[in-house]
């Protein structure tokens, strides 16, 4: 609709610019803080423009970290986060696509029950079963391991539903043609279903990578050895200093580093990100 109301348009721009500023403010402040030296915070006011210590601060954190806080170098924590995020994202996609395939393309006794078992996981976020889940993981000897960090988070009803939806919209004739062409179930899955779900998998991957990278409570519980600290869970340990003030410039450098990978994913894969977000909520 074409509407000639310059005043209203200007107002809309104003609202948006204000919105962008508010949204960006904390990150800007953090970034600025991360480019200053430790003494710049003593005066009591935080600087609003970047200082000269950017390279120095980031190099220090990535490389050696803050040993007084008992955390490993940030580079190492980022690696742990990456392993966890990738395992969670790929793991969820793998087991969900397999179970969606089973549910859509086969008829077998207790199929309904299997479906409901998967469905109820929606209603059991880790936050509501913290203690017993921790006990199970501890009992299995999975504390302080990548497996313990990722496997308990891998079951996903959302991803299963998404793939189920994708499969249901594929024409029946495609399976039939494949069967006549001599493809058994697994061949059909590999040759037809997987390639046709590629964009859905990519979109889902974006969402799940962010989900995995941003995990906090779970890594906090299952990692007691600093070798397995992830950056998102480790950042609090950096900020928690027993006596004295936190080393703000270093904590903020870590915060910026913790945001960087998932934010980059959202910005550079915006299309897939939006697709993934909308699809997983359908």
């Amino acid at each position: 609709m074409i509407e000639n109301r310059p005043g209203l348009n200007a107002l809309a721009h104003l609202v948006l610019i204000l919105g962008v500023v508010v949204v960006a403010l904390p990150v800007w402040v953090a970034f600025v803080a991360s480019t200053h030296g430790p003494t710049d915070f003593m005066s009591g006011t935080v600087p609003m423009w970047p200082g000269p210590h950017l390279v120095e601060n980031y190099a220090k954190m990535l490389d050696t970290g803050l040993s007084t806080s008992g955390t490993p170098p940030v580079g190492w924590m980022m690696f742990n986060s990456l392993v966890m995020a990738l395992s969670i994202a790929l793991g969820k996609i793998a087991i969900s696509i397999l179970s969606a395939f089973a549910i859509v393309y086969f008829r077998f006794p207790l199929r309904g029950l299997a479906f409901w078992c998967i469905f109820v996981t929606l209603m059991l976020p880790v936050e509501v079963r913290i203690v017993p889940t921790f006990q199970v993981v501890a009992g299995l000897g999975l504390l302080n391991s990548y497996a313990g960090l990722s496997i308990p988070l891998i079951a996903s009803a959302t991803a299963t539903f998404l793939f189920r939806q994708v499969f249901l919209t594929m024409p029946d004739e495609l399976v039939e043609a494949a069967r006549i062409d001599g493809a058994g179930p697994m061949k059909f899955f590999r040759d037809i279903l997987l390639p046709l779900s590629r964009t859905n998998m990519a979109a889902l991957f974006v969402i799940l990578f962010i989900y995995g990278w941003n995990q906090y409570l779970w890594p906090l519980l299952v990692t007691t050895s600093s070798d397995y600290y992830t950056i998102v869970a480790g950042i609090k340990r950096l900020a928690d200093v027993v006596d004295g003030l936190p080393q703000w410039h270093l904590v903020m450098a870590t915060a910026v580093l913790a945001m960087l990978p998932p934010v980059a994913v959202v910005i550079f894969m915006q299309k897939l990100f939006v697709k993934g977000l909308v699809e997983t909520e359908k």
Binding site: P171, E173, L174, E176, A178, I180, D181, G182, L196
Partner: protein
């Protein structure tokens, strides 16, 4: 190449719907059989049972001498062309054609040979590296046919392969299919609800109604001697007039039959004719006219040349051998 035999074939769907009942048929090697009937009469079900895509609940299907009731579709040595083509969207045309052969372990050289040959026959050579999405409806249809041809199967199964094409293309493809079949001599089972397609393609027609076979015969047999009022009304366009005999008491034999059938083209204007028709509407088709009206309360349609004179009432007559007599209750043809 093989014959196909259907023996008391029947299908009851899990919900209890009977889709097909008691079908007996012998399809000779190289024969082109068309299954025709209105929507929902069980044509697809029957075809899919032959393909192995639908389980057989009664009777048996033999391809050659082999009972294939429980044989996987891929092992029945058949190929199928679907209404929506069911091409693999992510594969090029070449890969689409080759997929079935690859799964069978056919050698690379042989695959290339067969694909190129099929492409040549169907004139799709220049599209081989495109994805289906980049093809027109007619081209996709050819690819779907190509996928069936390369397999060199014992039988082709077609499920309304032309119904997604526009009218003109449909006529052209119909001819091509006919030629192709003449050339390859592969046993074919072809489903359509378009009686014109059925008439032009078939060596023999199978008219289905409510899951039952109404009549099997060559197109001309079926056209000339429809076995029931259902067939008479279904085959031929415009449809045969089916008139209660009391509305045409002066026609020969009407005393013994419940229903008299006369094809519109078999009725001629004749000032001394026994039928008096009140004209209601005239449809001008160019080469001819369709004249609709009624006689003694029964609807009647005739075709007239475009130069014929039109009046509000026409007197009509028909040759005695052009009259078909049907039982009023069963609808069956009377001798």
């Amino acid at each position: 190449m093989a014959s196909i035999t259907l023996d008391n074939l029947g299908k009851v769907y899990p919900g209890g719907t009977r889709a097909v009942g008691d079908v007996n048929m012998q399809i000779a090697d190289g024969e082109f059989i068309v299954l025709v009937g209105p929507s929902g009469c069980g044509k697809s079900t029957l075809l899919r049972m032959v393909a192995g895509l639908e389980s057989i609940t009664e009777g048996e299907v033999r391809i050659g001498d082999r009972v294939v009731n429980t044989v996987e579709p891929a092992d029945r040595d058949i190929a199928m062309v679907f209404q929506n083509y069911a091409l693999y969207p992510h594969m090029s045309v070449r890969q689409n054609l080759a997929y079935g052969l690859k799964n069978r372990g056919t050698s690379k050289a042989e695959i290339t040979r067969r694909v190129d040959e099929a492409a040549e026959i169907l004139q799709i050579g220049q599209f081989l590296d495109r994805k289906p999405r980049a093809l027109s409806g007619g081209q996709r249809q050819r690819v779907a046919m190509g996928r069936a041809i390369v397999r060199e199967p014992a039988a082709f199964l077609f499920d309304e392969p032309l119904s997604n094409l526009d009218a003109k293309l449909r006529v052209a493809m119909r001819l091509e299919i006919k030629e192709l079949q003449r050339r390859l001599r592969t046993t074919s089972l072809y489903v359509t609800h378009d009686q014109l397609e059925a008439m032009t393609l078939a060596d023999r027609l199978v008219v289905l109604n409510g899951g039952q076979v109404e009549q099997i015969g060559t197109p001309l047999e079926v056209y000339r001697n429809p076995a029931s009022t259902f067939v008479a009304g279904f085959i031929g366009s415009p449809a045969m007039n089916l008139i209660p005999s009391r509305a045409v008491p002066h026609l020969p034999g009407s005393a013994h039959a419940g229903i008299i059938g006369i094809r519109p083209e078999d009725l001629a204007v004749d000032p001394d004719g026994p039928i008096e028709m009140q004209v209601r509407a005239v449809e001008e088709l160019g080469a001819q006219r369709l004249v609709h009206g009624h006689t003694n309360g029964a609807d009647l349609t005739i075709t007239l040349g475009s130069h014929a004179d039109l009046h509000d009432t026409l007197r009509l007559s028909a040759q005695p051998e052009a009259l078909h007599r049907f039982d009023e209750k069963t609808g069956k043809r009377l001798a």
